[in-house]
């Protein structure tokens, strides 16, 4: 019999999981990304113990940047409590033993998928994005060899043609998320699949933005105070989504809202996608018109990561 031997080595991972050499490789890519804002730096992304497409790029960037003194916040769809955010936060709690928080203001590093917090970020914060497809030109030209040339020559005509065809067909630019931007007047960049509502936040942001795409093996960055322009036309200027109603729970306006279906009779409400922002407002006494409605009570429930009492009930 061929005795199969397994030696127990589990639980002996380096700080923040990655080995030091891998961290150095990622760190060097981050430095290049910062020096060339919006340019996608190739890096040798490692296999992570979570699937590609589930945040491996963001996780590698966070692991390379994270220090003992940091406080980490992880959000997915704006919320700290979605399953993938919970899983990633748990990963860093386990491998780096860092402090975690759901309060945007307390975090030094915020890893996000698909949203930017509503609260303005500060110079002392770093925002790490998980990116599925970093190449803004990919759906116009599938070949990397071609898109690389287009970036090299600053040849973005194809993108403008695509956006213009939208206008011709639909009367407007039919891109609602992952809306392309031009960084520091040079590189066209994909801001990751955040709704275009968040695009104005990445323009001239005080915090450093780092973008990690693990499967596609690219890192890019936007330094603080960098001009980031959403592509548009003089006769069709860029505009963001507007919601007719305020948040049903906290009454906030001018924030991104999720539509929540309450029943099968057409009952629905709109609530803040940024759960921390919403909770903080309710704690400060702001109440929306649905806050006392029993149908919405499960939405107003205290999230697992916070100690705040909810004012909505």
């Amino acid at each position: 019999m061929t005795a199969v031997a397994i030696t127990e080595t589990e639980g002996e991972y380096n700080f923040a999981y990655l080995d030091e050499q891998t961290k150095r490789m990622i760190r060097r890519a981050i430095l290049k990304g910062i020096a060339i804002p919006g340019y996608q730096v190739p890096f040798a992304a490692r296999e992570m113990p979570m699937p590609y497409g589930w945040g491996t790029g963001g996780v590698q960037v966070t692991a390379a940047v994270l220090g003992r003194e940091d406080t980490l916040k992880v959000i997915d769809q704006g919320s700290d409590d979605t399953t993938n955010a919970v899983a990633i936060r748990g990963f860093f709690e386990k491998t780096a033993q860092v402090k975690t928080t759901s309060a945007t203001k307390d975090a030094t590093i915020i890893q996000t998928r698909h949203r930017i917090p509503e609260k303005e970020l500060t110079e002392d914060q770093i925002l790490v994005f998980q990116v599925p497809i970093p190449e803004p030109l990919r759906f116009l030209e599938p070949r990397e060899t071609e898109t690389r040339k287009m970036h090299a020559l600053e040849e973005y005509g194809l993108m403008h043609v695509k956006l213009y065809e939208d206008i011709a067909h639909h009367g407007r630019i039919a891109t609602t998320y992952a809306y392309p931007v031009k960084v520091a007047d040079r590189y066209v960049m994909d801001p990751s699949p955040t709704p275009k509502f968040d695009n104005p936040k990445i323009d001239n942001m005080k915090a450093l933005q780092l973008y990690g795409a693990g499967r596609e093996k690219r890192i890019y960055a936007i330094p603080p105070y960098t001009k980031v322009k959403s592509l548009d036309f003089d006769d069709h200027p860029f505009e963001v989504q507007k919601f007719d109603k305020p948040c049903g729970l906290c009454g906030a306006r001018h924030v991104y809202l999720d539509e929540v279906v309450l029943d099968d009779q057409g009952g629905r409400m709109f609530v803040c996608s940024d759960s921390d922002y919403c909770e903080e407002r309710r704690a400060d006494g702001h109440l929306g018109d649905m806050a006392a409605n029993p149908a919405a009570s499960h939405l107003a429930g205290k999230s697992s990561g916070t100690a705040k009492t909810e004012a909505g009930e």
Binding site: N14, F15, E20, Q21, K23, R24, M25, R27, R28, A29, I30, L31, K32, G33, I34, A35, I36, P37, Y39, V41, P42, A64, V65, L66, G67, R68, R148, K149, H151, A152, L153, A184, R186, Y187, L208, A221, I222, P223, P224, Y225, T226, K227
Partner: protein, 207 residues
């Protein structure tokens, strides 16, 4: 490599805690490049590199270089066997004679800084394939005043670096014009560093 072949200088202390010190030094360099021209503190205590390598320069080399990143040393550093051995021992990086092949260039005497265009500038398709210069200087108070603008700078950012070669700021302006190609620079004086990436525009102040 065996220990007896190494001089005592080579074994002089690098990071006592490579994981966390490496992370801290990297964060300083990252923030310095993200906020060009701003003085950023760097923690290099405990590192005792052989002269003329300074603790701040050594800390950056140890944090960023390894056997995947060829180094170029300026003549003053290249003359010292102890410096070469120290870097080899702590980073594993090989030392190149041509600045074109270097991922990082270590410069201890900024007055002898070669032309910026002699380093790897990257290509239009791969502008990241360029050299990052780590340059030791005396101070950020002397020398010509320049004003920086560009990514990472809210309005304008004043900067002085001393010493630099006479033609340095002309070269730095040319380097900016090459964008997205070009080199990135990090200056170190004492326990402070200043980043000057290729994305930064430079204007000469009157004073």
């Amino acid at each position: 490599m065996t220990a007896r072949l190494l001089s005592a200088a080579a074994l002089s202390p690098g990071f006592s805690d490579p994981v966390h010190q490496g992370q801290q030094v990297f964060r300083s360099v990252m923030m310095a490049l993200a906020r060009p021209g701003r003085l950023t503190a760097i923690e290099a205590a405990g590192i005792q590199p052989p002269a003329p390598l300074t603790p701040a320069l050594a800390a950056m080399a140890l944090a960023l270089a390894d056997y995947d990143t060829p180094l170029w040393l300026d003549p003053a550093l290249a003359r010292s066997d102890a410096v070469g051995q120290f870097l080899k021992f702590h980073t594993g990086a090989s030392v190149m004679t041509s600045p074109l092949e270097a991922t990082f260039a270590l410069v201890s005497d900024a007055r002898t800084l070669p032309a910026l265009s002699s380093f790897a500038l990257g290509t239009l398709e791969y502008p990241d394939r360029s050299t990052t210069l780590l340059i030791g200087v005396d101070s950020f108070t002397g020398g010509k005043a320049v004003t920086l603008t560009g990514p990472g700078i809210e309005t304008t950012q004043p900067l002085r670096v001393s010493p630099v070669p006479v033609t340095f700021w002309d070269q730095a302006e040319d380097n900016t014009r090459l964008f997205p190609r070009g080199v990135d620079m990090v200056f170190a004086a004492g326990n402070e560093i200043v980043g000057l990436p290729r994305s930064t525009s430079i204007t000469r102040s009157e004073a």
